[in-house]
Symmetry: C3
Subunit: 434 residues, 3 copies
């Protein structure tokens, strides 16, 4: 038997934290109250009332009360899952005991919140033995209040070298009779504290990109049937940077990301979904430039590339400082190599349906062709790219569709926006393929 995901969601796009108690406001729970009422693309897949770093230490007892108040009142209507973050530290038993008490308070059925709480987020975990301490407290909480053992999920923030190493042991630790680690749900990177723990420094104080940590988190999630989520992206104004980070994460198998504002939630909810319209990109000096598409013509408009027909069938192509003379075939080949197609949701569904039909009729592979006319400096070149789809390609291509289906199934509040974006027809076909 393989390790199966034991929770409802297959994917989590967004992990949105909210301070639980803010000093100096009339209502210290104001931000919680505002967040719990988010709907649609502004509402995260996982909402995290954050009683740890986002809340001042002297406000955290009040924070627990606020969580209980707000969730008992509004939790039933919240469209995503709810996972409060409590305090914890691998090196400090006092903090761990405080976290235990906060969980007991949050989960007390007489407070009326626990039926809407899906689990807890444990920060600053260390070795796997430290993870087990948090798991044990959750087991006691469940036992104390008559909840089913393992019904509260546990997510951890990976923000130390030892927690990174612990992710390599999950598969053999989950399922041991003395723990309930099957309750694990999200592995979330916390790069600020990780940077401190690793004692890393950059000249500007910017966070390192930590590609190996993100790989190891994604791999740990994959091996143990969990979901990997990247940490906060501090520069809230920098939407382009946030998208670039998410694209890099997805190439590592890390679909989710932390969001600090409802604006970031919207971007992060949308980013992993396939585009409405397919587009062509061209690689120029290591950068990707998007072509301007209209019907079947794709215009490249950049000073970095110029193209001229010097004689009949003879071309001069300049890319950056590099100039080349090419005949028509060579030009076609060069451009075909440099351009790529980003398929739309529609395109992906088409290819999958086509492959499914082929399989039904006994074929193991189909050729998927993308053709267009590329226009550079008014010179037009027809190009055509072909890709073989076999069972493995089909299954790898399925990931964005499985994601789409997971979102559609669990987030009815986003149906309207999805249908407006893609059109009802495509949405229906996407829900039926695969």
């Amino acid at each position: 038997m393989s390790l199966e995901r034991r929770y409802q969601r297959e994917f989590v796009r967004t992990f949105f934290t909210t301070p639980t108690a803010v000093e100096g406001e009339d209502d210290s729970a104001k931000m919680l109250r505002s967040a719990v009422q988010l709907r649609g693309m502004q509402a995260p897949d996982v909402w995290v009332p954050d009683n740890e770093d986002a809340t001042a230490p002297n406000m955290r007892d009040e924070g627990v009360e606020n969580i209980v108040d707000v969730i008992s009142e509004h939790g039933a209507d919240f469209p995503g899952e709810i996972h409060p973050r409590i305090v914890w530290h691998r090196d400090d038993p006092t903090t761990r005991y405080q976290g235990f008490q906060h969980m007991l308070e949050n989960a007390d059925p007489s407070n009326g919140a626990i039926e809407h709480i899906d689990g807890f987020v444990i920060p600053e975990v260390g070795d796997i033995d430290d993870w087990k301490k948090a798991d044990e407290f959750l087991t006691i909480v469940e036992s104390e209040y008559g909840l089913e053992e393992g019904s509260l999920s546990m997510s951890v923030i990976v923000e130390s070298g030892e927690a990174e190493l612990a992710m390599g042991d999950l598969r053999e630790e989950i399922g041991k009779p003395a723990n309930n680690l099957e309750r694990l749900f999200l592995l979330v990177d916390g790069e600020v504290d990780y940077t401190k723990d690793m004692r890393a420094m950059t000249p500007t104080g910017e966070l390192p990109a930590w590609p190996e940590l993100r790989h190891n988190t994604s791999r740990g999630a994959s091996a143990a049937g969990l979901i990997a989520v990247d940490g906060p992206y501090d520069d809230i104004r920098d939407v382009e940077g946030y998208h670039a980070r998410m694209e890099d994460n997805r190439a590592k198998g890390m679909t989710g990301i932390w969001s600090l504002t409802p604006g970031q939630v919207v971007e992060a909810n949308r980013s992993p979904l396939p585009p409405k319209i397919g587009s062509w990109i061209m690689e120029v000096d290591g950068q990707e430039i998007e072509l301007e598409g209209s019907e079947d013509r794709q215009v490249l408009d950049t000073d970095a590339v110029s193209l001229q027909e010097t004689d009949e069938g003879s071309y001069s192509l300049q890319i950056g400082d590099d100039e080349r003379r090419l005949d028509e075939d060579e030009l076609q080949e060069e451009l075909t190599d440099r351009v790529s197609y980003i398929p739309s949701l529609d395109d992906i569904v088409d290819s999958m349906e086509e492959f499914e039909a082929a399989k039904e009729s006994g074929k193991g592979a189909i050729a998927v062709t993308q053709a267009t006319t590329v226009v550079i400096d008014d010179v037009e070149i027809d190009i055509s790219k072909e890709r073989m789809w076999d069972e493995a390609t089909y299954q790898a291509a399925q990931t964005p569709i499985t994601l789409f289906q997971d979102v559609y199934e669990h987030r009815p509040d986003q149906h309207e926006e999805l249908e407006e974006t893609y059109g009802i027809d495509i949405v229906e076909r996407a829900m039926n393929v695969g």
Copy 2:
């Protein structure tokens, strides 16, 4: 005692898969029959009749018969090793049992193929305990047919997060009395299924580069005395990209790569061998440009760099957008820093012989000098690069020579091409150094 490689080959350059049964052909074994007759640079170091993904599920029983037919008839003459891939899946006992049956059939001595089969390739492995299940079946096969225990080698395709993690445990698992994991031979990455297993996505559907996976595979091979092989490179037309990938792999210690066509086999057999002729490259804006060499002059011909002598001994050097005024010494230093020499097989043998002689006479280090005249826009500058060779440099430089010797020893069918390429003198010296 350290873990020693237990098999004959020290290096495997090429891992070439062939479908075992193709529907709709007169002879469903046609591709096998064609592949088994490859010779010289077209023949791989390891040939893999592929009864898994390359063959349609409903053709796989016929595939096993074809493997037996073709190998019993032609296997004795095949110049590389033969390792059929059978079906297997960490999550599916039915598939594992089917794989066992196929191995029994392949290995039955009355079928006459097993004496030419070196081992089996097991795809889709999971934890190390899953690897042990395949190992146990091989032990039973050996016992059943009176073969020496451990005589059939086992190679695995690493295409899941748990298999990646398992590679960290090999050293302590190999050699335990209850298994015969000493039979392990190749660790082969399978990036298509790995991408699916990690649920990774890229906009264009292109595979992620997975540098960490390849590092971990190479490290796992190094620590356990095995050989690391990279997965298939799908874009068969893109020879340049295939070579770039192989160069990147070699810098990670991964010498071998999957080949999908005899054309790719040729490229992958040749790529890790040192060049016949040394050459100079220059780094310009993060890219490497090869200089055009003739005798002792190396001409740089690119629009990205221009050089003028403005006054006697005073120069203007423009690289990309960056222009600098330099005197002769500064110019020499700048160019010396930017150019590098790619040594030929001849050069490497020379340096090794020189170091061996020095060591014999009691010296621990020698200086290896490479000098040339660089020509840019008709301006000529003499440059000279010196490198210290000590015992460690010597041993690191030995890797391409050890590879060359391994190829020459085990692939007599490639002697002619090697001697044509390098000349018989260099080949002989390369076989005697180190």
Copy 3:
């Protein structure tokens, strides 16, 4: 209880090796005698009389005598720590026994050197069980000479795949009753031999960058309370390259680096300390260009960027081949995104003091603003960057200050140079903050 660093230094910037015996000199200990008398920025944090690779095999017995002579005479005055490297090999018991004998000789109290020796460096280690063999020899040495158990530290050179894997096991092995691995101090990468062990090849023979190895070393150090040090940088002339490597290392949490010459020691001692003067950099085509600062104006002088005011409030900004028309707000935003500030020691101390005061008064976060006027082609644009500092930012920013304090505390011989560089006021404030 978490794993605490058990040794005095929190950081080690420099690991400087010196041959112990050079043939053909009047005094074979000449280099040792010269190195032990280094002071100030030329003296390393850790000095390593190298009786392994830097010393010819036939000179190593003499090398041990030289170590004893030189350290007994000069060791008391050496400002850094002293850690001789002895011979060792995971695959060769003869070499290990020789290393044991050399340690016994070095540590014999009647030789008068051991009171100045802080520990030993063990090269070529393998599995954790191999590390334990060296640890056991050190325990015997301590027992034999009545030294406190665990008082001699042990540093290892990680130069094999199995040693890289062993770093993942340190946390659970340190503290087991049957070993004294708490004596571990430095994890030092040895990329030349690692490259050989991994059988990696590059066209020019240059070493691969091995980012994953360095990450794993840094993580291993972080998880076990040790210090990570990068291996030698061979191209001694290439000061710029050495600094780039150190900056890359620090972003991985690896603060220290090997030094081969006193010149490299100076660079490596200074490199991790914050600059005296803050500066602005701008990202252009993936490269960082430093602006020329004077008062509150920062001039960008590069042909790669040009800026013109085309009409009142309308601008044309060209970066590389990319030209854009922007209004004043867009221009300001674009430049704000592209420039970054590298804070000086003074700036970091200021921000930390400000945050500490805010925390005292009950605030959990402050905004730190950096403003300047950027000048491109005589056009002036005011920009202002703001960053939130909370507890986590504060703690991450503390790393360079902790480093500074560690250096100041343990290296009185560098006080004069530090005070000359930064001024006595800043040095005092830096020693009192945090």
